[in-house]
């Protein structure tokens, strides 16, 4: 009986052990968003989400036009255009600094911080990315901004 009681306690704790928050609850209007570049490309840059937030590639594409600020976010070009690249809008700023989301100007533009030059992105005056969506992009940068 004693062993059975002990086992019940241990099993109950282990069953309860997988209580992590779900990423899809944070991702909000883009529930499949993951902190990988391929996911960000697919769910943020190239897709309009369920909140009505516009796809970045509506403007930032090099297909049939010159992208604003030379920043093409369509597939095959976006990673090279972002990681380690200087901002054309704000001298001295770097769009994505691997491992350092605070120093990445992309985050400043998405959050609409006071130090940005020009408009908050996406420039359609909203809806903007949610804090949860931005936190996932921040995590991708924290993890090294790999082309994964």
């Amino acid at each position: 009986m004693r062993q059975l009681n002990c086992a019940v306690v241990v099993v109950a704790a282990l069953v309860l052990g997988a209580c992590d928050e779900r990423l899809r609850d944070v991702a909000g209007p883009s529930p499949n968003l993951q902190p990988t570049f391929s996911s960000i490309q697919r769910e943020i840059f190239a897709a309009t989400d369920s909140s009505g937030r516009a796809a970045c590639t509506q403007c930032h594409t090099n297909i049939g036009r010159t992208p604003p600020m030379g920043l093409a976010l369509n597939e095959g070009f976006a990673h090279a255009a972002l990681v380690g690249q200087p901002s054309r809008g704000k001298p001295g700023a770097v769009l994505v600094v691997p491992g350092n989301p605070e120093a990445s100007y992309l985050i400043h533009k998405l959050e609409g911080r006071a130090d940005i030059i020009g408009q908050r992105m996406p420039r359609t005056s909203g809806p903007f990315l949610t804090p949860g969506q931005i936190s996932i992009i921040r995590r991708w940068i924290e993890l090294g901004a790999r082309n994964d």
């Binding site: 004693r2 009681n5 002990c6 241990v10 309860l16 992590d20 990423l23 902190p35 995590r139």
Partner: protein
Amino acid sequence: MVSMSIPVFAQPAPANSSTSAAAAAQDDDPDMDPNRAQPDFTLATLPTNLRLPRHKMGFRVTHRFGRPLGEGDLGDLAADLFGLDAGGLIGLEFRYGLIRGGQIGIYRTSDRTIQFFGQYELLSQRNRPVGLSVVANVDGTNNFQDSYSPGLSAVVSRELGEYGAIYIQPAWINNTSLQPRELVDDNDTVLIGLGGRIRVRRNTYVLLEAAPRVSGFSPGAHHVSFGIEQTAGGHLFQLNFSNGIGSTLAQVARGGSGNDDWYIGFNISRKFY
């Protein structure tokens, strides 16, 4: 163990032979004896190995005032009656002796966190050098509707005659960051709870506890708490000082606000046996 000479509550006279037998069994239950080495089920926050007699109850009120004692000058602090006007984190706990050596309970704090817990004694110090119990608990925020943080720990105790006891409590707590695992480096915390309670007068104890995090998510300062307490019959009154206001195991795992911030608090507990 020292036998209690005055029962907390007078028991009604047995009505028949079966109730008489049950009452006799209850009288023989050593868990009913006051334990001078372990007078309560917790130190300030961490659990002890005090057994709750079967089918008996315990109740506890905790209060951590929200103003750090170092905030402002002494005049400000005195005007605020050392933080008593600043609000705080209040908790109510009820526990029940489900089986011999096993207890379950519920604890709710005023930030709408509810903790369910169960504790079972595996080894008793009555016939071994140390006591050992296992504790399983789970916290849920927003009245147990949002984020869940389960934990599993072992409480090893060594009673020092009737003069107190010391404790080691290795513990694992899940979902301490309250973030998805994909967004954080660690979402579990492993800590080693350390503590002790020493009887300095017949009914007066001093206590100290700490919960250094040894791996995983560990923001802020490691939890430290110390205090002084007085037993009076089935009651225990404790005045404590902590470097944070957390009072569930998951809150403790998330750390205190800083080693320069100390908060005054108190616990009042009542044993219904």
